[in-house]
């Protein structure tokens, strides 16, 4: 039987990701750009993955879109919510997973999984606290790169309390702590716990069952992961493919649907 290739495209609010999968098992290509929906990101990420793999759109049995910008991916045959795609991608990488936490650019999801399928979920309300954007804002005030936050937090000797209810007020608190001469690492530690506290509130609504996996770009921040482990009281697994989990899930769903289509 000929190989079946599928493409998953995840267009978020702050990043565009794509994954090509062979026979629903092997990742043969992936690409990522740090700009999301409404920018040139979606078009460029698709072009890039085809260039990198030397493949074409015509070779794809099915293309699945997901993410905040899923409705505007012209190349996609179908789309699914990022909730299902993160659940499926996480299950593929860690079959024992029952809880997935995804902190995205503008939303937070806690997904409960049973036998690989999403059975329930909770998302943040209309507020940026606890999201990736919250960390972006704090990094800017602290004059550090977002990618440095994890390592800086590791140097903290005491945690500073930062509000988890509002990004704007939390920003003022950070400025005030800086003015008082508090160490940046301690403030960052507080910022991470602020995010973790917010996410934990959502997670408790769904119910936390091991294994817990964190997906999305923020999972690269070791400080947030360890703060989350502390707040949740559970081990939080991550993956080097963390930013691609949604796109991977989309490619897996595309494979599943391509098989159904082939049978018909």
């Amino acid at each position: 039987m000929a190989d079946v290739f599928t493409l998953g495209i995840d267009i978020g609010s702050t990043a565009s990701k794509a994954v090509i999968l062979k026979n629903g098992e092997e990742i043969i290509g992936k690409s990522l750009l740090d700009v999301g929906t409404g920018t040139s990101g979606p078009e460029r990420v698709i072009r890039q993955i085809f260039e990198d793999t030397g493949m074409t759109k015509e070779q794809m049995a099915l293309i699945m879109g997901t993410g905040y910008g899923r409705n505007s991916i012209e190349i996609a045959d179908q789309n699914m919510s990022e909730l299902s795609c993160h659940a499926r991608g996480a299950y593929f990488l860690l079959p024992s997973v029952h809880t997935v936490i995804d902190i995205g650019g503008q939303d937070v999801k806690v997904i409960q999984i049973d036998n690989g399928a999403m059975v329930n979920f909770q998302m943040n309300d209309k507020c940026a606290a606890g999201t990736g954007r919250f960390l972006d804002v704090m990094a800017r005030v602290l004059e550090v790169e977002v990618s440095e936050l994890g390592d800086l937090a590791a140097q903290s000797t005491k945690r500073v309390g930062i509000s988890s209810t509002c990004t704007v007020f939390a920003e003022s608190e950070v400025i005030s702590q800086l003015a008082h001469g508090t160490k940046k690492s301690d403030i960052i530690n507080g910022v991470h716990h602020s995010v973790a506290a917010r996410v934990t509130g959502l997670a408790h609504r769904v119910g936390i069952r091991d294994d817990v996996m964190m997906t999305g770009g923020v999972a690269q921040n070791k400080g947030v992961v360890s703060a989350l482990e502390e707040e949740l009281g559970h081990i939080v697994h991550t993956t080097p493919l963390t930013q691609y989990v949604g796109a991977l899930g989309a490619a897996l769903f595309a494979y599943q649907k391509a098989l159904v289509k082939a049978k018909q």
Binding site: D107, M118, N120, M123, G207
Partner: protein, 486 residues
């Protein structure tokens, strides 16, 4: 029609729906006429015992229904903002803000040219113009042309007190004529207010403010939150005593004695309406359903504003017949194929109805359960039983009772999932939803999704966030089916 067979879409309002619309129109019109005749007109909260006012033949209108209508007509933000400018916080219920702004004289006016009196048309308004073949007519830029007949004037906030203070003449007439001609924008000012806080506690201060603004009497019935499933005798006694005091106040307001015969008639009508309402709600148990569950939200206007009128009972009975016909003919008012059924928890986001409906339609999701069915389907006999009945409003019952109501309709109406509106306007309703959601999942084994929104203030709703949640809910319901099959 056999279960699971596809229903054909029934277009246009049925005789029952038309009758129900007329009932609400008449409530407003009769109140306007009464005001013109110099009779006192009251403003009432939705679950104040309307039977009491009916016993005195008093005309009453309903600010909650009015606010929902103003919000659905896309003027919620304008009036909420006007209330905020008066000093009311934007955390206060959107209905209350709209009502308080209206109470202070604010109205929606159509902009007009003060020289000619002609309305200034908003070029973005109106439906696409179609030619004789039904094709959309394009302008020179290739964009659809608007049908001039359907274009609307720009709107602005005006104050009726300023208009009424104008000298008599053409300019005053123009200003009055420019008031947006929807019934909610032309509701007569109150001469008394009837407040029952069984629906929420914000109501008390809201109505106190109206009474103070207009310097008019407030008839208050206090129904505390019931932390028990039953309504015991002491609670009945507490409310019954307030009914007696309210009757005394209404005698003074109307200048008439309490008419026992009229009261009994109003109670009989209210009971008949409640029974017909419940029967209508029960039609959502059919699979597929002969109606869109969103229809119930529209029919709520009748239950709120006119449940003690015989015309309301008759209109609901007529609607029952329409639905029976739909079952026989395999038709439904749902404009798409019903693939999944959900309970919609909470009040709709009235200013965003198309956005609310869009992903439901795209995913084939029909709302077949709403808590209003049991909450307004109560029947009673006499003043003591009436006290007991009014103790059971959605936000005054304990969580066990609230869960039992909802899980009962979810089971009867065969829902596959639950969609919860975390309504920024309604803290009592939204506050306990997280726990309720947990219980629905545990007891019913169905997925639940929550979204943020508001019943009247469009600033609190985000369509993209909502769409993701609805799509996620649909996928979770489908995943459950696949797991079952496997």
């Amino acid at each position: 029609m056999a279960e699971n067979e596809k229903a054909k879409v029934k277009k246009g309002p049925s005789p029952g729906v038309l009758a129900l619309r007329k009932v609400v129109d008449d409530v407003y019109e009769e109140a306007r006429q009464a005001k013109k005749r110099g009779e006192p007109v009251g403003w009432s909260s939705s679950k104040f015992p309307c039977e009491l006012a009916a016993a005195f033949g008093l005309h009453v209108v309903y600010p909650e229904n009015q606010a929902a209508g103003i919000a659905a007509n896309r003027n919620g933000e304008m009036l909420c903002q006007a209330a905020e400018d008066l000093g009311y916080d934007n955390d206060i219920c959107g209905y209350a803000r709209i009502s308080l702004a209206y109470s202070a004289g604010y109205r929606v006016g159509r902009k007009y040219d003060h020289e000619t009196g002609e309305f200034i048309i908003n070029p973005a308004s109106g439906k696409p113009l179609k030619d004789e073949n039904g094709q959309v007519v394009l302008d020179e830029n290739g964009n659809p042309k608007k049908d001039p007949k359907t274009q609307q004037p720009f709107e602005e906030l005006v104050n009726i007190n300023d208009i009424e203070a104008m000298p008599e003449g053409e300019e005053k007439e123009r200003a009055l004529n420019a008031l947006k001609p929807i019934r909610q924008n032309l509701m007569p000012a109150p001469d008394f207010v009837l407040c029952c806080n069984n629906i929420c506690n914000c109501m008390t201060k809201w109505y106190e403010n109206i009474a103070r603004m207009h310097n008019i009497p407030l008839v208050m019935i206090d129904i505390p939150y019931n932390n028990d499933v039953d309504v015991d005798d002491s609670k009945v006694k507490y409310v019954r005593a307030q009914f007696d005091a309210a009757i005394h106040q209404l005698e003074k307001i109307s200048g008439r004695k309490f008419d026992e015969k009229k009261f009994e008639e109003a109670c009989a009508n209210a009971n008949r309406t409640a029974k017909a309402w419940l029967k209508v709600c029960d039609y959502l148990q059919y699979k597929p359903s002969p109606m869109s569950g969103f229809d119930l939200f529209n029919h709520m206007a009748d239950v709120v504003t006119a449940r003690a009128k015989v015309e309301t009972a008759e209109a609901f009975e007529l609607l029952e017949k329409d639905l029976e016909e739909n079952i026989k003919n395999g038709t439904s008012t749902l404009p798409f194929e019903e693939k999944k059924r959900v309970m919609f928890e909470g009040i709709p986001c009235w200013p965003k109805l198309p956005a609310l409906f869009k992903p439901l339609k795209e995913n084939g999701i029909n709302v077949t359960a709403v808590v209003y069915a049991p909450a307004f389907g109560f029947v009673f006999d006499g003043l003591d039983e009436m006290a007991k009945a009014y103790y059971k409003a959605p936000n005054s019952v304990c969580i066990e009772q609230g869960v039992a109501w909802r899980e009962g309709i979810c089971r009867d109406n065969k829902v596959d999932g639950v969609l919860v509106h975390y309504n920024r306007s309604c803290k009592p309703w939204s506050g306990y939803m997280a726990e309720m959601q947990r219980r629905f999942t545990r007891d019913l084994g169905v997925p639940c999704a929550g979204f943020d929104g508001d019943q009247a203030d469009p600033r609190n709703f985000n369509a993209a966030q909502y769409e993701t949640r609805v799509q996620g809910l649909m996928e979770a319901m489908e995943a459950k089916d696949l797991a079952k099959e496997a």
